[in-house]
């Protein structure tokens, strides 16, 4: 659904200002008329190999999670699922703190994704359609922040959190990632294309103030891009590792933090470890199966990497 709505507004009205070529929505998934080469058998074979290599480690996670510890450690390794999948998943949920981790990760990723979407839409709208002094410089600044690896500030950030009393607390992982430069840039590109200036002007003529215009005119138009930003941010927040590992502990972990503990255990129960890994991946996998098309188009449209 997003593939139709996200890209390709070739009929977009002429803009009142020159626009830099967007690396965004417009060219997304536009099928080139001149692309005539059809895939030959070799291309299919290579792509099937690629798909198998991509999926196999996850498949094998499931296999290992469905057998028991002794079977996993035999040679040749098992290639078919065993009978213990659900009992192992249940054990991982209870024993390995995965239950708490799943709930924590849902809260963390959900809040971060919602706030990223909201602030990205707000700022993206301003950068795309409002005029103000310093707009281009500020936009460059936003893009520049993408180049700053977050790991570098981890020591002061840790001090800040312990001063705020947030060590081992979820706010410590939520607050630093409430916004995303990629999200802002993506939304700016999208709205430049998808939101006709006339709509904004009509709102002004009707006497609507900016927030009102944002609420009733921009939000409905921005919805497809908001969905993409939400999903991609959710994936990144769910999988974020370094900072949560530093600031959280096993009493209150997110999924990736709990997974490290699984592997560090003194008694190495391989099928339990794999059950935990599978459990922690399932929500995202489900999302990819349902919304794969939108996520693919979003990544192709925005070069999105958190």
């Amino acid at each position: 659904m997003t593939t139709q709505s996200l890209p390709a507004r070739t009929d977009a009205p002429a803009r009142t200002e020159p626009e830099k070529p967007a690396r965004g929505g417009r060219r997304l998934l536009r099928e080139r008329a001149g692309r005539t080469h059809h895939a030959g058998p070799l291309a299919y074979i290579l792509l099937v190999i690629m798909a198998i290599l991509s999926i196999f480690p996850l498949y094998w996670t499931m296999v290992a999670a469905s057998t028991d510890n002794t079977r996993v450690s035999q040679t040749p390794p098992p290639f078919l699922p065993g009978p213990n999948l659900f009992s192992n998943l249940a054990r991982a949920w209870d024993e390995a703190a995965m239950g708490k981790a799943m709930i924590n990760s849902t809260i963390v990723a959900g809040v971060i994704a919602l706030s990223t979407v909201f602030f990205a839409t707000l700022a993206g709208f301003a950068f795309a359609k409002l005029r103000f002094k310093g707009r281009n410089v500020l936009l460059m600044l936003v893009i520049g922040t993408m180049m700053v690896p977050p790991q570098l500030g981890v020591v002061p950030l840790f001090m800040m959190m312990s001063e705020l009393g947030w060590s081992q607390q979820l706010p410590a992982v939520i607050f630093p990632t409430l916004v995303s430069a990629v999200g802002v840039f993506f939304m700016r590109q999208y709205l430049s294309e998808a939101l006709p200036d006339e709509l904004v002007e009509a709102g002004r003529v009707d006497g609507a103030h900016s927030l009102r215009i944002f609420w009733s005119i921009v939000l409905p138009v921005a919805r497809p891009a908001m969905a993409v930003i939400f999903m991609i941010t959710f994936v990144h927040a769910w999988n974020d590792f370094f900072w949560p590992f530093v600031v959280l502990d096993m009493t209150n972990p997110t999924v990736p933090v709990a997974l490290t503990q699984l592997s560090a255990g003194y008694v190495r129960d391989q099928s339990l470890i794999m059950a935990g890994a599978l459990l922690g991946t399932l929500p995202l996998l489900a999302m990819f199966i349902v919304f794969g098309r939108q996520i693919v188009s979003g990544i192709m449209a925005g070069a999105v990497k958190g």
Partner: protein, 331 residues
């Protein structure tokens, strides 16, 4: 129409009747003033949240890191900072663990990034054909991207296990002796790179694919009229056509490579994780940063490692620039 709307957007007062009643006049004035404030101020209010959060949780920590690196700070007593000037840097310079971690970061970075981007280029080329099930292949290539570092590293740790791992079993089938993937330096680095390559190849392929689809078809037509083979078209039309995306992915991969942390940590399975193996054979700068701060409780030295990482990143980009300039001079 365009001019009137530009004025409205720019917040200029619309020309109104000059002789209105007094009360009407003030309320109209107030309305106009509010409108002006809204038009002038709202954009800044809309972008402010981004900059406030970034300043508080990214920029300030980054700058403050350099200040901390000039002090001795212990994890247990974070508010006690003892000024030591550049002692931390001097010690780091003389510390063989730092040079080891730097070397490991570079080698793992190269053997994970180069094959990754080359394979991504090939996959993107294949995905760019007209074909059946193209959506399936695209989603399949993204499945590793949906897997967290934790889960991916755990599976690969098991696949690379010395005694019962699938890789060694496969090697045994063709008569190769089992490899000790964790304890030996180069096998360990290769295994860790495999995790990185697995997770990011498909993602990069989709970025390349998006760029390839934007190359105008007539360039290919012109090339094939000139008798260019498919391979020549790929080299002389496709690759130059997606050059800026290639640069973008190189930048992102380089940043990712200098920060590498989760894969080696989990690959080391707990006790050996933070030190990057019993002999630090795969300790990266990211792991050293964590070890100094949260295992040795030396936050000042940890901050010093963070700055060293930043310098490595800067140097990497300077080097890339130089190589690019040299290549364009020789060609």
């Amino acid at each position: 129409m365009a001019t009137s709307t530009t004025k409205a957007l720019a917040g200029e007062e619309p020309p109104g009747p000059s002789r209105a009643g007094d009360g009407k006049e003030t309320s109209r004035r107030r309305g106009a003033w509010l409108h002006r404030l809204d038009v002038k101020g709202a954009p800044y209010a809309f972008i402010a949240p981004f900059f406030v959060v970034f300043a508080a949780f990214s920029f300030y920590p980054l700058v403050y890191t350099s200040w901390i690196s000039l002090h001795d700070v212990e994890l247990a007593t974070l508010d006690v900072m003892e000024w030591v000037a550049f002692d931390n840097y001097v010690e780091l310079w003389g510390d063989s663990r730092f040079w080891n971690a730097l070397q490991n970061t570079i080698t793992i970075g190269v053997i994970s990034t180069v094959p990754q981007l080359l394979m991504a280029l090939g996959i993107a080329h294949l995905l760019n054909y007209r074909m059946r099930a193209s959506l399936f292949f695209r989603v399949a290539s993204l499945v590793p991207y949906a897997t967290s570092v934790g889960a991916a590293a755990l599976v690969f740790t098991m696949i690379f296990e010395r005694d019962f791992g699938m890789i060694n079993w496969g090697l045994g089938l063709v008569g190769i002796d089992p490899v000790n993937w964790e304890a030996d330096k180069w096998p360990a680095q290769a295994a860790i790179s495999t995790i990185v390559i697995w997770r990011w190849t498909g993602y990069n392929a989709l970025l390349y694919l998006a760029a390839m689809q934007a190359i105008p078809a007539d360039r290919y037509e012109a090339a094939s009229l000139d008798g260019a083979s498919r391979w020549q078209q790929f080299r002389h039309v496709t690759v130059p056509g997606i050059r800026s995306t290639i640069v973008f992915t190189i930048v992102l991969s380089t940043i990712g490579a200098t920060q590498l942390f989760g894969e080696p940590l989990i690959f080391g399975q707990g006790p050996n994780g933070v030190t990057g193996g019993a002999n630090n054979q795969y300790q990266t700068l990211g792991l050293l940063l964590y070890e100094e701060g949260w295992k040795n409780y030396q936050m000042g030295r940890s901050a010093t490692v963070a700055w060293a990482m930043f310098m490595v990143l800067v140097l990497a980009f300077v080097a890339q620039r130089l190589i690019k300039r040299l290549r364009s001079r020789t060609s």
